[in-house]
């Protein structure tokens, strides 16, 4: 059997699928209904998200959700007929997830990197 990164990508897909299944619906309810409707003050919600523990939660959620998307989307596109571009699709999808993970990490820890007081 040829060497492949499939087990790693599948693990990330699978972890992402589980975390997403458990956490994303309630998070969407918060960000699309509860907060815009004013049941929770936007400013209080922002402060809640700014806590270190919530930042860590968001980092894991964003990263795993992106890897879940990347793995599933690449195979869905192949199933939909883009068989000839399978290689480039895989690279593009996973690269997007990696870049998104780095960006999320940067934005979530940057306030701690650039404070001088």
């Amino acid at each position: 059997m040829a060497k492949s990164n499939e087990p790693i990508m599948w693990s990330l897909f699978s972890a992402g699928g589980m975390v997403t299944a458990f956490f994303v619906p309630v998070t969407i309810v918060l960000t699309s209904m509860v907060v815009p409707a004013g049941w929770i003050e936007v400013e209080n919600f922002r402060q809640l998200i700014a806590y270190p523990l919530t930042r860590l939660f968001l980092f894991v959620l964003i990263s795993l959700a992106l890897f879940h998307w990347a793995h599933r989307f690449r195979y869905a596109l192949v199933d939909l007929g883009l068989r000839n571009s399978a290689g480039i699709l895989a690279i593009t999808c996973y690269a997007t997830a990696v870049v998104g993970t780095i960006m999320a990490g940067f934005f979530l820890v940057s306030p701690y990197l650039f404070t001088y007081d």
Binding site: I40, L58, L61, F107
Partner: protein
């Protein structure tokens, strides 16, 4: 195979819908990523959460993500086979446990968010 194979049968169609829920998972992860860039900008943060377009997109994403959660949790006993001694733990029991965990997580997150109201 023709590109419209998944329109030929209801089960194929539901399979493709399930696979394409990842687009909404990825899209929401992107939204959260943008939200993290506004963590230190209260006005920008509020504007993002109050944007009618983004609220509409999230309301569209919610049923798709719920479909992901339901299909994912329903499949867990197939992936996770548990044994108690010589006896296999009932797949139904595992699924029920998954839904209970999902409910607890959702309630705890809502409770944490509302405590910061």
């Amino acid at each position: 195979m023709p590109a419209d194979w998944w329109l030929k049968k209801k089960t194929y169609f539901l399979f493709m819908v399930r696979e394409l829920t990842c687009v909404f998972v990825g899209g929401y992860a992107l939204f959260l990523l943008v939200l993290t860039t506004r963590l230190d900008d209260p006005q920008g943060f509020a504007a993002l959460l109050n944007s009618p377009l983004l609220i509409a997109l999230q309301i569209i994403a919610l049923p798709m993500v719920l479909y992901h959660s339901i299909t994912w949790l329903n499949l867990t006993p197939k992936v996770m086979v548990l044994w108690r001694g010589e006896e296999r733990v009932s797949p139904f029991l595992i699924t029920v446990a998954m839904y209970v965990i999902w409910a607890i997580i959702s309630i705890v997150i809502l409770w944490i968010a509302f405590r910061h109201r």
